[in-house]
């Protein structure tokens, strides 16, 4: 970031450097969000598309208890996904950050590697693992632990597991990046001075990793909230999320304005969340 108040040329240079980012944001964030805003107050065309007159009915329609329930449900599922990712991601990142340089590289590559496979294929793998006649249930039955299959697939829990698996690297990488910068002498000194492992974790590693944790949380929460494929595949269509509402209104009901209303609600939730994240992150940085 170029700080304002520099000389005139450096300020011009700053804008030049920022322009690709600004153009990108204008084209792919500002314009789409604004067109959603416009679209949400228009009337649905007969075959999709939008026509006049302008009206605000969609916002009252969106407060129907069915839809409110879906939105709350989505927030819960996305939160559970982000928390589960944090619980798995933080220890993993901490472990990796304490290894030798060579092993760090190997393990980070190993974490990114599954991304080379199409995500649908990876999601189907969970279908094979979790279904009632699947590998896990068959194994448990064969060793005599259960006689009826455990219903794992087509539940909200399966959706959370599937999305955690998909987005876990997005949690590990920012936390690792934060921890990797931490001076190893800090924890060593803490141990030398008689601090317990838990205390050094609580007073050194977690606070210093906090910016990474917050970013990871956002990185996992945001795509989880908008996801509609995983609820369909692993949730068996029985778990509906806000992403499914947007998709269904655009493609099935051909009601673009109502779909735009949900997309806007989704965007608003994210704006609030990211504001909180940047506020907390700033305070953490000041304290540190």
């Amino acid at each position: 970031m170029v700080k304002s108040g520099g000389s005139k040329t450096s300020r011009h240079l700053g804008w030049a450097w920022a322009s690709p980012g600004l153009i990108f944001l204008t084209l792919f964030a500002a314009i789409p969000v604004l067109s959603m805003l416009f679209m949400s107050v228009l009337t649905a065309g007969r075959f999709g598309g939008v026509t006049t007159p302008i009206n605000f009915d969609n916002f009252s329609r969106a407060t129907d208890p069915i839809f409110v329930k879906v939105i709350i449900n989505s927030l819960l599922i996305a939160s559970a996904t982000a928390i589960l990712s944090l619980l798995i991601g933080f220890p993993t990142a901490l472990f990796i950050s304490r290894l030798s340089r060579k092993w760090q590289v190997i393990l980070i590559v190993a974490i990114i590697l599954p991304y080379w496979t199409n995500f649908l294929v990876r999601t189907y793998a969970w279908l094979v693992l979790l279904n009632n006649e699947g590998i896990i249930n068959k194994f448990l039955r064969n060793i005599g632990l259960i006689d009826k299959p455990i219903e794992m697939l087509y539940t909200p829990a399966a959706v959370i597991v599937g999305m955690t698996y998909l987005y876990l690297p997005l949690m590990i990488l920012p936390i690792y990046a934060a921890l990797e910068k931490v001076d190893k002498n800090l924890t060593e000194a803490a141990f030398d001075l008689g601090s317990s492992a838990w205390k050094s974790l609580r007073t050194i590693s977690i606070p210093l990793a906090m910016p990474g944790i917050l970013i990871g949380f956002i990185f996992v929460f945001v795509p989880s909230l908008g996801n509609f494929v995983v609820p369909e595949l692993l949730g068996g269509g029985k778990t509906v999320m806000i992403g499914n509402l947007v998709r269904d209104q655009f493609l099935k009901a051909r009601d673009w304005p109502f779909g735009a209303t949900f997309a806007l609600i989704l965007a608003l939730i994210l704006v609030v969340l990211i504001s909180i994240q940047s506020y907390v992150s700033k305070r953490v940085n000041v304290n540190a």
Binding site: L22, I31, F47, G48, G236, K238, V240, K252, A253
Partner: protein, 367 residues
Amino acid sequence: MATVRKFKFSATVVAAAALLLSACGGSSDSASSASVDTNVDITTQKLVISNWAGYYPEDLAAKVKEAIGVDITITNHANNEEIMGKLTASDDSGIDIAFVSGQYAQALAAGGKIVNFDKAAIPNLANLYPEVADLAYDKGTNYSAPYAWGTTGICYRSDLVDFTPDSWNDLLNPKDSIKGKTTMLATERWLALPAMKLLGYSMNTTNADEIAKAKEQLVKTKPTLLAYDDTAYYTKLVSGEAVLSESWDGWCNYGIAENPAIKFVIPKEGSDLWADTMVILSSSKNKEAAHAFINYILQADVHAWVANNILYKVPNKAATETLDPALATSYPNMGLTPAELLKGEVVLDLGTDSKLYTDLATSVTSS
């Protein structure tokens, strides 16, 4: 800083407004008629065709090239909603021929997105069953050439179900022995169909009371289901995860091909009659080749070859008569007669009332 920000904002507004205007872009209100110029050399035209994945013989493009000399590119869509999205998002989708279900052809025609055929260029329309001309989504077969047709019923594992299903009630209020092992279609019109038929309503109803009653039944059914599934249910039947599924007849055949214990039944309360059709887009610049393509598909031996390949019934009398009777022995629903099929209710486009069904599906699946 402030001035720059203000400028950025107004530029965005202008761009957004421009985008919106283009989305509003006008379209006429009914199908225009195509007139085929017989002097055009169709081998100079190229066709882009969008069909469901796996719903045509793999070597179709090569056969077409060989037979009528037209280069075709086949793109795939997963469902009607996806292709409708592509066709309505802009005035020219770049697609010449689309495969869509009858009620969607009806909607596209009403929106002026597809052309009325120049029937002189498709003489093979005469091969179709005469009943086809009465199908309510396109009386007279003016803008949609039927490619396959069928009905919706119950596909089940006769070896894993301890009774012979014959009613939508077996799906909607399942016996304890099959609870948690049944699936229903997820597409809203078919999600609603079993309840509508069980309650004795039309599957095209827009009556609020009837829809509310159907919703009540479907909400009651939801906890007994394994999943809502349009695409992979036959694999669930094959693995035994599911034992009874609401199913399009052709999809059940894919299960039967892998396990002969899988059977198909049309419930006694009745069902639907759906047709998948070929339509020519108004935006197509290759209408002569497009007509020739449709005529080629409707040719008796070609349409029979398609039926053998995709295991769906084709509404082509001449083609069906050449089909190997053994096919109907292995796949009993391939032997359904037009009279039996026509007992089903034709699925119609509901226009702006479509959202009644989307809301119904959302409130059921999120209950």
